[in-house]
């Protein structure tokens, strides 16, 4: 049923992308160096972008690379370099029985949730909000649903971001003002 619906090239692309995502995710956790972790994160994001393209969501793939790989992880790296956190971290984690049990329960909960999300539409609502992804008119469909059906959430998100930016500016200005008064 599922296997019949995809062709061999699609299967190959899927396996490669999933391998990239998996290696990236494990590497992100396992790397001893902060910068290496950030690079593994980029690798994961690329794998997800490939999966988006395979689903026919090219626009999402492009936005994924531009916004996440291009801006956010670069800012991570920027902070890592400026703060000089580029040394090997000493693990401060002691594994005792309680922690292992708690971590196991957490992983199990995530797996169960993933299973429900993947298997039934009742937990997520409709399966796709913006119509069929493979219609080839990504941008139009997306824009229409963002600017008509979901215009209030969209505007609210915009307002939230503006508030965050203004807040950051005000806070940094206050710090500068205080420093100059101290001088």
């Amino acid at each position: 049923m599922i296997l019949a619906a995809i062709s061999i090239p699609q299967l190959v692309v899927f396996v490669v992308a999933v391998a990239i995502v998996g290696v990236g995710g494990v590497g992100l956790l396992a790397a001893r160096h902060t910068v290496h972790s950030a690079l593994f994160l980029v690798m994961t994001l690329f794998g997800v972008a490939i999966l988006f393209i395979e689903e026919g969501a090219e626009f999402l793939a492009a936005v994924q690379v531009i916004v996440y790989a291009g801006a956010i992880v670069v800012l991570f790296l920027f902070v890592i370099m400026l703060l000089g956190v580029d040394r090997v971290e000493v693990p401060a984690f002691v594994a005792d029985r309680n922690r292992i049990v708690l971590a196991g329960v957490g992983v199990l909960a995530v797996l169960v949730e993933l299973f429900y999300v993947a298997s039934g539409a009742w937990s997520t609502g409709a399966s796709s909000q913006s119509g069929s992804l493979s219609s080839g008119q990504n941008l139009g469909v997306l824009a229409r649903s963002v600017f008509t059906t979901y215009v209030y959430p969209f505007e609210l998100t915009g307002a939230l971001l503006v508030i965050a930016v203004v807040g950051a500016v005000v806070l940094s200005k206050r710090l500068i003002g205080r420093r100059e008064v101290d001088r």
Binding site: V35, H36, V42, E58, G70, A71, F78, L139, R174, G177
Partner: protein, 396 residues
Amino acid sequence: MGSDPLLTGHLSLAVILIVVVKVLVAFVALLVSVLLAIWIERKVIADMQNRIGPNRAGPWGLLQSLADGMKLFFKEDLVPERSDRFVFKLAPYLSVIPAFITFTLVPIGGSVDIFGHHTQLQVADPPIGILLLLAMSSISVYGVMLAGWSSGSKYPLLGSVRASAQMISYEAAMGLSIASVVLITGSLSTRDMVTQQLGTFFGFIPHWNLIRLGIIPFLVFIVAITAEVNRPPFDLVEAEQELVGGFHTEYSSIRFALFYLAEYMNTITMSAIMVTMFFGGPDGPDPTFLHWLWPILWFVAKTAIFFVIYVWFRAALPRLRYDQLMDLGWKVLIPVSLAWLLVIAAMRVSRPLGFALVALGFLAALVLMRAISIGHERAGQPRVQALPGEEINGDS
């Protein structure tokens, strides 16, 4: 894979072969044009500075860059002791590959028939089109950034931190001016951008985006692109008086050559993108004979003109200071391109609304300038930004 008629039908071996040949031809053409571009740059700058320039290797020194490349191949390949070895070796490729991928987007000519298959003279025409340019330019930030960091020495690190801040800042202005082109084209595909620009106004003015959009998006784009590829006057990344060689100080041999290659590939690619977006791409007068050749010639000529303009920038303009660079990006280019984007959107809806918006914009600009000048007048007086309850020290 986009709207190329080659890829719509059944994928036979011949089709795959044609795609491979197109990729190879594009790659080789780009490499050869880099060799020529370096020669042109050295010659033109030498002329502008009253020098002779390279004139030993080959006729007029044409083979000079080839000789330099071979020399770099055979030099010793140093990896610094305190470097992060894997990232150090990875970084040059992160610079070169995005430069080439961006070039594949550019439509070089019309369409031709090879072996009974109809195909476009363009390596790829994906539906996300120009967004791929933005994605690749954000990836090329990694090349510079990781090169500087992994060298494990301080000047490269300073250079790369500068570079990443600069490239992220100018990406916003670049994206906004691309958005205005996308708005008027109604499509992200580079092929659509070119076909939309065919034809003329009144029979003699070309129907190019440069004129359709007003000149402002183009001006913003050329400044933003120059900063994005770290060409002079925005080459603070490798400011040799301050940072030795910037992010590639520790690089030698073929890895250094790769960075050099990436810089020139980027410059040529960006000239080509500029031609595609604002100057009609391969559009131009088309005599009746040799129908397939003329668009390619027009395209190459326009791209070469833009490359020479870059060289001219380098010879004529002094390097900006870092704060001037940031001021130009954030306080001039982004507001101007944002306002112009609004004007273009309004013009698309209705002309009166558009002109009303322009008038309102001028009014707002006047009010803002007045406010800023009042602020400057008050700047001599004690700061009023101290927190409530704290004493104001008038001397500070």
